[in-house]
């Protein structure tokens, strides 16, 4: 088991490293001089040169990369040019918004998806199944930012139950803060729920075809008991994997959804930084998002091993 863990940890760090390399390289591809981009084309030559020196642009790429990585590892973050504060400051105050948002979405999506998926599988090829499949097709087809707009339209503009955007901050109280996150998390959760529901359904159907399900019925277990005691745990294994993969899409979705609701989270920060050409912020925050995704996938892997006893014994 510890060999399994060690292997996984190594892969984890390696992936993080590769991610950092990719992010760094992607921004190296930038045509034009970053200093020019930041200061504008009319800036005086001396300012450009000074900025270049400060950004370390006179050093070769690999050196800059190493400096960046080692700095990060020590927790030193550069300052953002647009906001003038340490990136860590920026990130921190936004993480406390985006992380709860993402988690709420995951919870909502999972609850809906598992319920619908199992219901559809239990009613295979009958009305309930067709209904769930149709709704989920819609859920996938609808762009999440449009859904967000529709939610605002219905619940904020028409019904007035919610505000149409913004986040009051956690200091305003737990309930007002959560209330502001409800519509956005529904918008984010919908696509994920649709995908997970379909996947849960097919996973359950597949497991129901297994021989051990026949054995369970032959022992006298009812269809329902067989479903919950024998099928679910086996069916959930691939579903959890998918959840991990989809978390990445969820995070990416925050970029758009936070913009729709004007919520000052990480997603919105990325978008604004891109608009402001604040390369440093973009670089660090994107790496942060990637790191979150990689960590979540790592956790999912570990979870996998806990749920499936076959993995405890063998090394993967």
């Amino acid at each position: 088991m510890s060999v399994f863990l060690a292997k996984r940890l190594i892969i984890f760090f390696a992936t993080l490293l590769v991610a950092s390399l990719l992010v760094f390289l992607a921004l190296e591809v930038l045509p034009g001089d970053p200093a020019h981009v930041i200061l504008g084309m009319e800036a005086p030559e001396s300012a450009i040169i000074a900025l270049r020196k400060e950004l370390g642009l006179d050093h070769p790429a690999w050196q800059r990369y190493l400096v960046w990585i080692t700095d990060l590892a020590q927790g030193k973050f550069a300052n953002s040019y647009t906001y003038g504060v340490s990136i860590w400051e920026l990130v921190r105050e936004r993480l406390v918004i985006t992380v709860p948002l993402a988690m709420m979405s995951m919870v909502i999506a999972t609850a809906i998806a598992l319920g619908l998926g199992v219901y559809a599988a239990a009613n295979h090829n009958r009305g309930g199944d067709v209904g769930v499949m149709s709704i989920s097709q819609l859920g996938i087809a609808v762009p999440n930012f449009w859904l967000a707009l529709m939610l605002i339209l219905l619940f904020a503009v028409e019904l007035g139950w919610f505000k149409s955007g913004g986040f009051p901050g956690w200091e305003a109280g737990l309930w007002p803060a959560f209330k502001a996150l409800i519509l956005p998390s529904i918008a984010l959760a919908t696509v994920l729920a649709a995908i997970l529901a379909r996947f849960t359904r097919s996973s359950v159907l597949e497991v129901m075809r297994e021989d051990f399900v026949r054995t369970a019925r032959a022992k006298g277990l009812s269809r329902r008991a067989t479903l919950w005691r024998h099928v679910m745990r086996n069916a959930l294994i691939p579903v959890i994997t998918i959840m991990g993969l989809q978390f990445a899409n969820l995070l990416a979705g925050t970029i758009v959804v936070e913009s729709v609701f004007a919520i000052p989270g990480i997603g919105r920060l990325v978008f604004q930084a891109i608009g402001n050409r604040d390369i440093v912020v973009v670089r660090d925050v994107v790496l942060l998002l990637a790191a979150i995704v990689i960590t979540v996938n790592f956790i999912v892997d570990m979870l996998y091993a806990v749920i499936d006893p076959r993995l405890k014994v063998h090394d993967l």
């Binding site: 762009p143 707009l149 993969l245 990416a252 758009v256």
Partner: protein, 281 residues
């Protein structure tokens, strides 16, 4: 020919395929039609007819600049389709090439390709697209490039998996024993057998590309004004949401219908191509 006939007769009866085909055809037909005719010029502004409700002159009404909504929607179809087709094609051509190479050569080429595409999977695709567009600047062409790039690992992985399975089959072994080169085998034997899977994935990726383009356009990183784009329509409509909420509804429906159509088409194709998979649906 009888195999093809069998396919079409089954296809006609398959609900998803028919529905998806109908919607996709609607999308394509709208785009083609808009090339030669739209009720009004999609970029034609008019101060007099701003924010009109649907009427016989303007079936869907007008936006805050007086532009006819139906015309923009129709013209927007062009944008969505062209971005979708070109970006998926880029990803497909390069990705399939890489996948075939990886499956044929095995060894470290395969390892590297697969690790790289596995990794690209873990990385949020939209994020990559946004970053790329941010790096190279906004615009339709760059959006196409960005979306195309994130399609590459998807097709590479799919191709390599499918191709690897074909490489183990007897007729390929026979071809190798006969001395045929890797390239010839890949093209003549492997490719025809994996085409179906690639086509199915292509329709799915097309749908994803439309969504991605819409998201990019919404953020202002896609088609730039005045070129019509559904995503940008949505961001412009957002400012009007208290005044004329319907402005936001139409483009979303257009996107949803297109994506739905393509997804249904892809599902239908998948069922028709491999009936074994159909039983699981």
């Amino acid at each position: 020919m009888s195999a093809a006939n069998g396919f079409w007769s089954r296809a006609r009866r398959h609900r998803s395929f028919v529905a998806g085909g109908a919607l996709t055809s609607l999308l394509i037909a709208t785009a083609l039609l808009s090339l030669i005719w739209t009720p009004y010029g999609p970029t034609k502004m008019s101060l007099r007819y701003r924010l009109k409700l649907p009427s016989p002159e303007h079936w869907l009404g007008t936006d805050q600049y007086g532009r006819d909504i139906l015309s923009i929607i129709m013209a927007g179809a062009q944008n969505s389709i062209s971005v979708g087709v070109v970006s998926v094609s880029i990803g497909l051509v390069i990705g399939v090439g890489m996948g075939l190479l990886a499956a044929a050569r095995r060894g470290w080429i395969e390892e590297v390709t697969m690790r790289a595409s596995d990794f690209a999977f873990a990385f949020p695709a939209i994020l990559l697209a946004i970053m790329l567009v941010a790096a190279i600047g906004p615009g339709s062409v760059n959006a196409i490039i960005a979306i195309g790039v994130f399609n590459i690992p998807i097709f590479a992985r799919l191709t390599r998996g499918a191709a690897a399975a074909v490489w183990t089959r007897e007729f390929v072994l026979a071809a190798r024993a006969a001395g045929k080169g890797l390239t010839r085998i890949s093209v003549e034997h492997v490719l025809p057998n994996i085409t179906a899977v690639i086509v199915v994935q292509g329709t799915v990726q097309f749908a994803i590309a439309i969504l991605a383009e819409a998201a990019l356009s919404y953020l202002g990183l896609g088609a730039q004004p005045p070129a019509p784009s559904w995503g940008r329509m949505l961001s412009e409509a957002q400012t009007m949401i208290y005044i004329n909420p319907m402005l936001a509804v139409y483009p979303g429906i257009a996107i949803a219908i297109s994506v739905l159509g393509l997804n249904l088409l892809g599902d239908g194709l998948r069922d028709l191509i491999d009936p074994r998979l159909a039983r699981q649906r």
